[in-house]
């Protein structure tokens, strides 16, 4: 009797799952042709999954469609199955479709999947292919109605007071700017200066200022660095460049972090002592330095911010806290929304989940008395989406959709909170095949933004 019940349950679950998922995806064969790469060694199968929208972003007008392209370089036919699985950002299955599949020897076959999704968000699409002599699993990510994504906002009630106090504390510190020409790093076309200054809690930080030697008042590109990345001078023909090495990099690390702990979680137990309160203020001090040194040939009405990863986040933070920038150019910004980032990554086993959640989980493990909620409450003072309403300049944003360090959901949710007028002036680019990076073409495009952005001056 129990065996019978088990069998009935098994059959029912199969029928239910078949009905649930089989109806979700529409599949049809697009082409079956001679493989142009035939007779290549070694014999293998090459699988490409190609979103119909090049940027991997879909909406009601552009329903989600993918082509799965299979090249069979074997000299024998390949039979088996292809399954397409779609998961939401927390890993829950939205739908599965599995079909029998065969491709002749030295042939290629392309099949198309239509994937109906309803809710705005980013989704993993996982294609599994099991053939006679070849198995593979490929993950890709697509967005559906990405500009409608809005993750919950966790803005503390005293957020503005907290940061005003931080700025007051910073401005109570005499910066004592020390500007030293560096003849070794300077070139015939550019003068490089080492710039040292005192920041919050009298921590000494340093940066590099590069000014073209041709006379004139130069717009400034203020570059902000990635996590623990030591910034070096950069050389632009038509811009001055400034970058700051925040606390935790160079000598300042010995002062604030003698035990050399992970800076991401240094003093995370207390929002007033957390390392990033100082790091954000270091970046603000960098802006203070620029504003105080117009006489060096800097056009302080035209300061643009740029950075990638943590540096991307810092552009929004500095833009929001100072409101002295005319544009932000950023890639793959981390720390946009710690809460959602945690939800996305915490259950993933993939190593690419990145260091952020890994370090936060380690912090919780080391500090058993601190709950996840308390930690996230502290981090909510430091996540970019709470600063974004204070950003008053347009942004160019580039992201890799496979990025788990800066998940697209968190970035879009933050970007979507730019005010409507700014969003019209901003631009967003996504790259489905990339993780924590952007392609060369986008890097070149940023210079277009630098020049366009520098046309306008900061309105007073």
């Amino acid at each position: 009797m129990r065996k019978l019940l088990f069998l009935i349950c098994l059959c029912l679950s199969f029928v239910i799952s078949k009905n649930t998922y089989a109806a979700v995806f529409d599949f049809h064969e697009v082409s079956d042709s001679k493989n142009p790469k035939n007779n290549q060694e070694p014999e293998t199968v090459v699988v490409n999954i190609i979103p119909h929208q090049k940027n991997g972003l879909f909406d009601a007008k552009h329903p989600v469609k993918y082509n799965v392209e299979v090249f069979n370089n074997y000299r024998t036919p390949q039979d088996g199955k292809i399954s397409v699985e779609v998961r939401n950002i927390t890993g829950s299955i939205v739908g599965i479709s599995e079909v029998d599949f065969n491709v002749k020897a030295n042939n290629k076959k392309m099949v198309e999947w239509k994937i109906p999704v309803e809710n705005p968000g980013f989704y993993d699409i996982i294609v599994k292919i099991n053939l006679t002599e070849y198995d593979d699993t490929i993950r890709n990510v697509f967005g559906y109605k990405p500009f409608e994504i809005a993750t919950p906002l966790h803005k503390p009630a005293d957020f503005d007071v907290f940061w005003q106090k931080a700025k007051d504390d910073l401005h109570a510190v005499n910066p004592e700017y020390r500007i030293t020409p560096d003849d070794i790093l300077s070139t015939p076309t550019h003068q490089v200066y080492l710039v040292e200054m005192n920041s919050l809690d009298n921590v000494k930080i340093y940066g590099w200022l590069t000014i073209p030697r041709a006379k004139g008042k130069y717009p400034v590109l203020y570059g902000l660095g990635g996590y623990k990345v030591e910034m070096k001078p950069l050389f632009f023909d038509d811009f001055a460049h400034f970058t700051i090495n925040v606390r935790g990099i160079g000598e300042s690390n010995h002062v604030i972090n003698p035990d050399n702990q992970e800076i991401l979680t240094l003093h995370l137990e207390d929002k007033n002592k957390y390392a990033y309160r100082g790091i954000y203020m270091d970046c603000v001090r960098g802006m203070d330095f620029l504003l105080a040194n117009e006489k060096m040939g800097l056009d302080i009405s035209r300061i643009g911010l740029f950075g990638g990863s943590q540096g991307g986040t810092l552009t929004w933070i500095v833009a929001g806290l100072t409101q002295k920038a005319i544009f932000c150019v950023l890639d793959n910004p981390t720390f946009c929304d710690f809460h959602t980032n945690f939800d996305i990554c915490v259950n993933r086993q993939q190593p690419e989940a990145g260091f952020i959640i890994k370090f936060l989980k380690e912090f919780l493990r080391r500090n058993g008395n601190i709950s996840k909620e308390k930690m996230l409450t502290t981090l909510s003072y430091f996540e970019a989406q709470n600063f974004i309403s204070d950003v008053k300049c347009p942004s160019l944003v580039g992201i890799g959709l496979l990025d788990l360090m800066a998940p697209p959901t968190c970035t879009l949710s933050t970007y979507n909170r730019l005010n409507t007028d700014l969003k019209k002036k901003s631009e967003f680019f996504s790259f489905p095949d990339m993780a924590h990076e952007v392609p060369m073409e986008h890097n070149t495009f940023k210079s277009t933004w630098f020049y366009e952005g520098a046309v306008k001056k900061l309105s007073k």
Binding site: P212, G216, D237, D238, T448
Partner: protein, 271 residues
């Protein structure tokens, strides 16, 4: 022919912008004020043989022009060139002079980016509008409206180096004798040391018309061809100002003046 040389210079100048900021950029502007001197005392006859003008005869011109390019969008530039020319033509001991605005040019340049936005194909459509009438000699040109279509391909073969190849077709349409002109241009430039620029250009025009005659006032010849080489040197002296000096010389031709000239110009990028 001087008009052709002026046009060629204009194209040459336009190409020079590639080095730093090209296409011009949305809402950005490039200004290039230019002074060009040209003198010719010999000519290529209909077989290409070099023959001297009569004793004391010559053709000379001084041209001031202002080239303006404004980025209407990332890919589309408005381009305008306004020349003011003074010509002196001496034939059989009689010298005639005249000064005035020449052929204004207004058009659009559309850029198509290629690999990683580091190569471009640019197409141009330019309307030519004469700002003078041919009432009394010496004439300042054909006094004919016209249009020019051009396309170029530009890329950086090496860091800080650019190469541009361009082909153009120009048609003057107020008179049945045209002319029709086909042009080519190859420009290579590089930056060296601290903001010193050097560029070399080879360009030429084949102008064809039923009006085959040759006039020592080179501006009115319609059926000719020539090629010229030029060398330019510039140095950035200010954030957005790079003055240049340029010399050019005709190296071959048919029914065209043999001449040399020099230009002073400055590329000014705004803001």
């Amino acid at each position: 022919m001087i008009k052709s040389i002026v046009i060629a210079c204009f194209l040459f100048l336009f190409c020079n912008q590639l080095l730093a900021d090209w296409p011009v950029g949305k809402n950005r502007t490039t200004l290039i004020p230019t002074y060009t001197y040209f003198r010719s005392a010999k000519y290529f006859d209909s077989t290409g043989k070099v023959i001297g003008f009569g004793p004391g005869d010559h053709f000379a011109s001084n041209t001031f022009s202002l080239y303006f390019a404004h980025g209407l969008s990332r890919r589309l530039d408005l381009i305008v060139n306004l020349p003011y020319t003074s010509v002196s033509s001496s034939s059989n001991g009689v010298t005639q002079s005249k000064a005035g605005f020449g052929d204004a040019q207004i058009g659009l340049a559309l850029h198509f980016p290629l690999k990683d936005l580091k190569q471009f194909i640019t197409t141009k459509a330019i309307f030519i509008l004469p700002l003078y009438q041919n009432v009394k000699e010496p004439y300042l040109g054909f006094a004919s409206k016209g249009f020019q279509l051009a396309a170029n391909y530009s890329f950086n073969p090496l860091p800080h180096t650019y190469l541009i190849t361009e082909a153009s077709y120009t048609r003057y349409f107020d008179q049945v004798t045209g002319p029709n002109q086909f042009g080519y241009s190859i420009t290579c430039g590089t930056m060296f040391l601290d903001y010193n620029y050097i560029s070399a250009n080879l360009s030429g025009i084949i102008s064809s018309s039923a009006e085959k005659g040759f006039n020592t006032n080179l501006l009115v010849n319609k059926d000719f061809s020539y090629g010229k080489i030029s060398l330019a040197y510039g140095r950035k002296i200010f954030r957005n100002i790079t003055p240049y000096i340029q010399g050019f010389y005709t190296i071959y031709g048919r029914n065209a003046g043999v001449g040399y000239g020099a230009s002073l110009f400055a590329i000014i990028k705004l803001p």
